[in-house]
């Protein structure tokens, strides 16, 4: 396809923004309907058929609310925090291989770039909480920072394992290595890493903790007394944080699909394409929603104990076992 480069990039930019926007809006619908079905009730049904217009109604409500900057808050940082949280999430989409030729930029360090951008997410929440000048927001954002920092380490260790297995940080190449039927996917690649399912589980748990989803949602569901790092945000400011959470979930699940489930490869070996990618992506997102509505929240120190005392030793064990297998065989 010989589309001139500027047009290709422009169409990708528009496409990514549309994809992120649509996902952020309709993942809310998926979540609410899913929550309803898990709880044996219908979920939203009033607005539009089966509640499909509910996210639009929510968006209109959020946009019509007044965006108040609390007095005494640092106005620049307060307004900057939602921007800072949304932009990296969107930028991560440029390196994700949606299909064989559907990658915005095919760079050799795609994997590294996603993790670099993911770390900015933490700083944005910290800024949001700190610039609100609200006692509870500061406490909550401090908790979120320590949670995210703690969970980045096992996540990076699992990614190191995957790098050793795949030998490349280029996401498109990683997907192409998993061609063939589903037993070629990295998840079942026990020859290279005998602890591969464990690696996937650790990656998934860390992804849940990084995006502040239940059961690790101390930041947003502080229903005990503190309203969380986003207390002072009203209207669309809060809406952007909300959208960014779902965008982060999509990035995390896309990365899991690419690394472990073969990306756009089909499970039966024929007809690969973007549809397989989307199917696997949405199955993983359904699992994220499923986990949220099943389990209670962990305590704050339980979260940190899990990371430092359990996940890091286990992920180190997977790195060592992969290295041992690679050296010996």
């Amino acid at each position: 396809m010989s589309i001139p480069e500027p047009f290709r990039l422009a169409s990708f930019v528009v496409g990514i923004m549309a994809f992120v926007g649509l996902n952020a809006a309709y993942l809310v619908w998926v979540e609410r309907k899913g929550a309803g079905r898990f709880q044996r009730r219908p979920g939203p049904t009033e607005v539009g058929y089966a509640g499909l217009l509910q996210p639009i109604a929510d968006a209109v409500k959020l946009m019509t609310k007044q965006v108040i900057v609390p007095p005494g808050a640092d106005a620049t940082l307060f307004r900057l925090a939602p921007v800072l949280i949304m932009t990296p999430a969107m930028m991560c989409f440029t390196v994700l291989p949606f299909g064989e030729t559907l990658t915005a930029t095919d760079i050799n360090l795609g994997l590294l770039m996603i993790f670099a951008l993911g770390s900015i997410n933490v700083m944005a929440i910290m800024l949001g909480g700190w610039s609100s000048r609200n006692k509870y927001a500061i406490i909550s954002s401090a908790r979120v920072v320590s949670q995210n920092v703690a969970y980045e380490i096992p996540m990076l260790l699992t990614v190191v394992t995957m790098l050793m297995v795949t030998g490349s940080a280029n996401l498109n190449q990683i997907v192409q290595q998993q061609a063939g039927a589903f037993w070629n996917w990295n998840l079942f690649n026990l020859a290279a890493n005998p602890l591969m399912p464990v690696t996937f589980v650790i990656f998934f748990i860390c992804m849940l903790a990084e995006t502040n989803r239940a059961p690790f949602d101390m930041a947003e569901a502080e229903s005990e007394l503190v309203a969380g790092a986003f207390t002072e945000y009203a209207g669309m400011g809060f809406g952007v944080f909300f959208m960014a959470e779902y965008a982060n979930i999509v990035v995390g699940c896309s990365l899991a699909t690419v690394l472990f489930f073969g990306g756009w490869q089909s499970p039966i070996g024929v007809l690969p394409g973007v549809w397989w990618f989307l199917l696997k992506l949405y199955l993983l997102i359904f699992t994220v929603v499923w986990i949220r509505w099943t389990f209670p929240r962990t305590q704050f120190y339980g979260l940190l104990n899990l990371s430092w005392k359990i996940l890091i030793p286990v992920s180190l064990a997977t790195v060592v076992s992969t290295a041992a297998v690679m050296k010996v065989f």
Partner: protein
């Protein structure tokens, strides 16, 4: 887990400032309107002072300017989640005073409805407690089960929450076949559901980590504050009014008193789940042994108990509920005193929560099963 000694060390060096945090009358969790003034040192509580009275409705005063029969609707509303028990206590006290005979069929039906009410109250507690801890789904499963109980009781009495079903000398109307069959079906339905809750919640590692070794209340503290019900049974003492001061026909039934020695939140949780199982046992036996007969005894039109001081205690869902009536021979009581379990259970919160983290203190408060209208009456 960090210990209380560390918190006292912090406060002696004088550099840490404590701040007062108000767990305001409006709770995100379904406790009710209770205000807890917490003096916190960072994340730790140095002092938690409960302030109650936001829903004081003066039931005891209302007892002094209504006739005995006119007080019956009030009894359902003191603790609306286990309303049958409270009506039972008041009705039992007046029957004890006026020496009214209750026919055996009425006694058995009272036991059946009380135990159904106990199960429904424990289901509400279960759902609300898990909501506190962040698991939203088991609440709805518990409420689904509770709907069946409420439908049964609605078919029998006409009301879902504030039944006002017992009268002096028996019941206001008789049970029908639908209710008996429905209760039997409910017992068969509920047993597998309890297994499901065990697998979904009790065995869940996240839930266990939230509750094990948190909020230890030993039997000595319970005795000091007069805490009864699952609080003291979770501390190892098998104190149950149905065994120690048998009332109604409870001594005709074969049931165990669940108690666990650890005294932590998990022990209290397990006590309540086991109590649901034991209530199902009582229901089975009661439905099987239900005698025929009248549903109300001979009662004068206007009750005037002889002058004196009478008490009657029942095992409500939350603990020991006692009604003390003082009569001076008139048709209006001289005094109606309600000893409610939640008030005593709340009073040990201040001592038990010293030095705890806030999340753990809230887990402790949830495990005490407080219903604030019960505290404030």
């Amino acid at each position: 887990m960090l210990h209380k000694e560390q918190i006292t060390n912090h406060s002696t060096d004088g550099h840490n400032e404590t701040f007062v945090l108000n767990l305001g009358p409006q709770h995100p969790a379904t406790h009710g309107v209770l205000r807890v003034k917490m003096t916190m040192d960072g994340e730790y509580i140095t002092r938690a002072e409960p302030v109650c009275g936001y829903i004081h409705r003066m039931h005891e005063k209302m007892g002094e300017n209504r006739t005995w029969a006119q007080f019956l609707p009030n009894t359902s509303r003191i603790d609306y989640l286990s309303a049958m028990h409270y009506t039972h206590a008041f009705v039992g006290a007046v029957e004890r005073a006026a020496r009214i005979e209750v026919p055996p069929r009425a006694e058995f039906v009272r036991v059946i409805t009380s135990e159904l009410n106990r199960i429904s109250s424990h289901l509400v507690w279960f759902g609300a407690y898990l909501l506190d801890l962040g698991g939203f789904t088991p609440l709805l499963y518990a409420f689904d089960d509770r709907e069946r109980i409420l439908d049964l009781l609605e078919g029998l009495t006409g009301a879902r929450l504030t039944y006002c079903y017992y009268r002096f000398g028996g019941l206001c109307n008789d049970v029908d076949e639908d209710f008996i069959n429905g209760t039997r079906d409910f017992v068969h339905y509920m047993r597998p559901r309890l297994k499901m809750y065990r697998a979904l919640v009790t065995d869940n590692i996240i839930f266990r980590k939230r509750l094990e070794n948190i909020g230890i209340i030993d039997a000595e503290m319970c005795r000091k504050y007069g805490a009864t019900g699952p609080v003291i049974r979770g501390a190892g003492t098998p104190y149950d009014v149905r065994r120690l001061e048998p009332y109604s026909v409870y001594d005709a039934f074969d049931f165990d008193i669940p108690h666990y020695p650890e005294g932590d939140c998990m022990a209290r949780y397990l006590v309540r789940m086991e109590e649901i199982e034991q209530s199902l046992r009582i229901l089975e036996q009661a439905v099987a042994k239900l005698p025929d007969g009248p549903h109300i005894g001979k009662v004068p039109r206007m009750i005037k108990p002889p002058a004196g001081d009478y008490t009657y205690a029942v095992e409500a869902a939350r603990g020991r509920m006692m009604v003390r009536i003082v009569s001076d021979g008139k048709e209006i009581p001289y005094r109606v005193k309600l000893r409610t379990p939640s008030f005593a259970n709340l009073s040990l919160f201040e001592e038990a929560s010293r030095g705890m983290l806030l999340t753990d203190a809230l887990a402790l408060m949830g495990s005490l099963d407080l219903v604030i209208p019960d505290i404030d009456r």
